[in-house]
């Protein structure tokens, strides 16, 4: 199960962050997810990884562009990121978030700064911070179903056991 609503302090990063920057190619050849969490964003800002636990990651447009590597979203989930919020996502990164059960919200106009509390709810499609609320693009029923299950593994486990 993934909690589709929650709140946490914002960690803010820029626009067009590619998945090479989320987790570099040199760390991909392992099954150990803690390696990816430990080295998340290493080439962007080496001080970011220790700040990710319990945070809401707020990014600029086109988050997660580039390589399809799912290790990027696994790194964020493993590091303890609660949700990712951006005005737009590269579509494979977006799918990957849903598939690993990491809440993802497409939200124009969210204004917040590092450390500020951000509250999100994937079921209502709302994000709020600093006393202001923002609408998000709704998720399809199938996406919500996968996310609620906790990701595609749990979704298929559930379907296969029926």
């Amino acid at each position: 199960m993934t909690l589709l609503a929650g709140s946490g302090p914002a960690v803010c990063i820029g626009a067009d962050i590619d998945t090479d920057l989320v987790i570099a190619g040199r760390y991909l050849r392992t099954k150990d997810r803690s390696v990816w969490a430990e080295h998340a964003f290493e080439d962007l800002d080496p001080t970011l990884a220790p700040r990710l636990k319990g945070c809401v990651l707020v990014t600029g447009k086109n988050m997660g562009c580039g390589s399809s590597r799912e290790q990027a979203v696994m790194a964020l989930r493993e590091a303890g990121v609660l949700a990712v919020i951006a005005p737009s996502f590269a579509r494979i990164f977006f799918r990957n978030c849903i598939n690993v059960g990491l809440p993802v919200l497409e939200c124009e106009g969210l204004l917040c700064s590092d450390g500020e509390m951000v509250t999100y709810d994937c079921t209502t499609g709302m994000v709020s911070s600093g006393g202001r609320s923002f609408d998000c693009r709704p998720l399809s029923p199938k996406m919500q179903e996968i996310l609620v299950a906790g990701g595609l593994v749990e979704y298929w486990k559930g379907r296969l056991s029926q």
Binding site: D20, L21, G25, C65, S67, R69, S88, R95, S140, V153
Partner: protein
């Protein structure tokens, strides 16, 4: 009814549908992740193994014991489960699939972002991550949102020394890195019948660099002739007058000049002439964008009888491309010029092996991505056509191919 995406996916833009997948492929990098996830799902078997391909290209052959162990695990799994398997040296997954394995009208999913390459055949081809691939192994299906489309109308002909890679860089620059996010690019216009399959593959390959989900060409005589060499037949697809496009772009090929994507974004594009004389530490000719036989042949035509002035790595896209380059003499020309030839595959493109750059070094590559640190920590990469790469290899600095072709 509608755009090619709408026709193939059988629904209107904006709607969601569960689609049966005609061809699904992954590589050594995404495949091992997909296997781990597939094992966790606990399925009784692969739903449609004959539609599934596992193709080793990213770190091929293995560079460390750890990589080799992961590759052994996936290799054994792929063979045992009845999926098609192409081992190290066979070539890049997209090129492997392009060699007669993808047909017009098919829905093709690859666990790699450049899976859009196969839109060159009029197939709806797009990339996903490892979990989605595992889900396809389990069920033979996946969900897709039918994308809106952007029409790119091509007119005129390319000038001497200008390539379809320059056209690709041009449209990425015009759209921007996220200008086509969630959308399909459709290549249309009077010049389409004169764009060969290798050019279509290059142009579809770069679609994801503008954020696009797919880059589609309507199957025509070029498609039919290309596929017939692999014993495949196909029917032509015709654009629909009633198709609605979210955006329309017109490009006159005659007006294009050799271009470069400058570090560290694919959409920051400048004319080669503006940057001529920039010192280089390495040139790389290869990848799913420009590692095909025709690319190597154009590079060889420029390097014939000359010596490279800078280390130059050449990696054929597939074993078939490699063999053709060997038997035609293209490879002999490249080796005589002093090029280093790697085994078919991705080569240094993803920064894992075979030509990674050092801190402060400057490279020129025929690849599709020049993200910061991707092909070497602290390095800078320019992206260009094979002709620009070869002309630059001769002088050791960025050079305009129009002066040597």
């Amino acid at each position: 009814m509608g755009t090619l995406s709408e026709k193939i996916l059988g629904a209107q833009a904006g709607s969601f549908s569960d689609k049966r997948i005609d061809k699904a492929f992954c590589h050594d990098g995404t495949g091992i992740q997909a296997k781990v996830i597939y094992d966790e799902m606990g399925a009784p078997g692969i739903a449609n193994p004959d539609a599934c391909y596992v193709i080793y290209d990213h770190i091929a052959p293995a560079n460390t014991s750890q990589t080799a162990d992961l590759q052994r695990e996936l290799r054994e799994f792929a063979v045992k489960s009845g999926m098609h398997f192409s081992d190290v040296g066979g070539g890049i997954c997209h090129q492997h699939m392009a060699e007669g394995r993808v047909l017009p009208g098919e829905v093709v999913i690859g666990a790699d972002s450049h899976s859009c390459t196969l839109g060159a055949f009029g197939a709806f081809a797009t990339g996903v991550g490892a979990s989605d691939m595992a889900g396809i192994w389990v069920s033979g299906e996946t969900w897709l949102r039918v994308p809106e489309s952007i029409a790119i109308y091509l007119s005129g002909a390319l000038g001497k020394g200008v390539e379809f890679k320059d056209l690709a860089l041009s449209y990425v620059a015009e759209l921007g890195m996220d200008g086509a996010t969630y959308q399909t690019l459709e290549f249309l216009g009077e010049s389409v019948p004169s764009v060969p399959m290798e050019g279509r593959l290059t142009l579809s390959n770069m679609a994801v660099e503008a954020g696009a989900k797919a880059g589609l060409w309507y199957a025509d005589e070029i498609t039919r002739e290309y596929l017939s060499k692999y014993g495949q037949s196909c029917q032509a697809q015709t654009p629909d007058d009633t198709a609605v496009y979210a955006e329309e772009i017109w490009i006159d090929l005659h007006e294009l000049e050799p271009l470069l994507a400058v570090p560290h974004r694919v959409d920051t594009v400048k004319p080669v002439s503006e940057l001529a004389g920039t010192q280089l530490d390495q040139v790389f000719i290869g990848t799913c964008t420009n590692g095909r036989f025709e690319d190597l042949a154009r590079a060889a035509a420029i390097l014939d009888g000359k010596k490279v002035a800078v280390r130059t790595v050449v990696v054929p896209a597939s074993q078939a491309d490699y063999l053709k380059a060997v038997t035609s003499g293209v490879m002999a020309t490249l080796v005589a010029a002093g090029c280093i030839v790697g085994p078919p595959g991705c080569g240094p493109c993803l920064g894992a092996h075979m030509g990674v750059l050092g801190d402060g070094e400057v490279g020129l590559s025929t690849a599709n991505r020049n993200f910061r640190n991707r092909m070497g920590i602290g390095a800078s990469y320019y992206l260009s056509s094979p002709s620009t790469a070869a002309a630059s290899a001769v002088t050791g600095e960025i050079a305009d191919p129009r002066e040597v072709v």
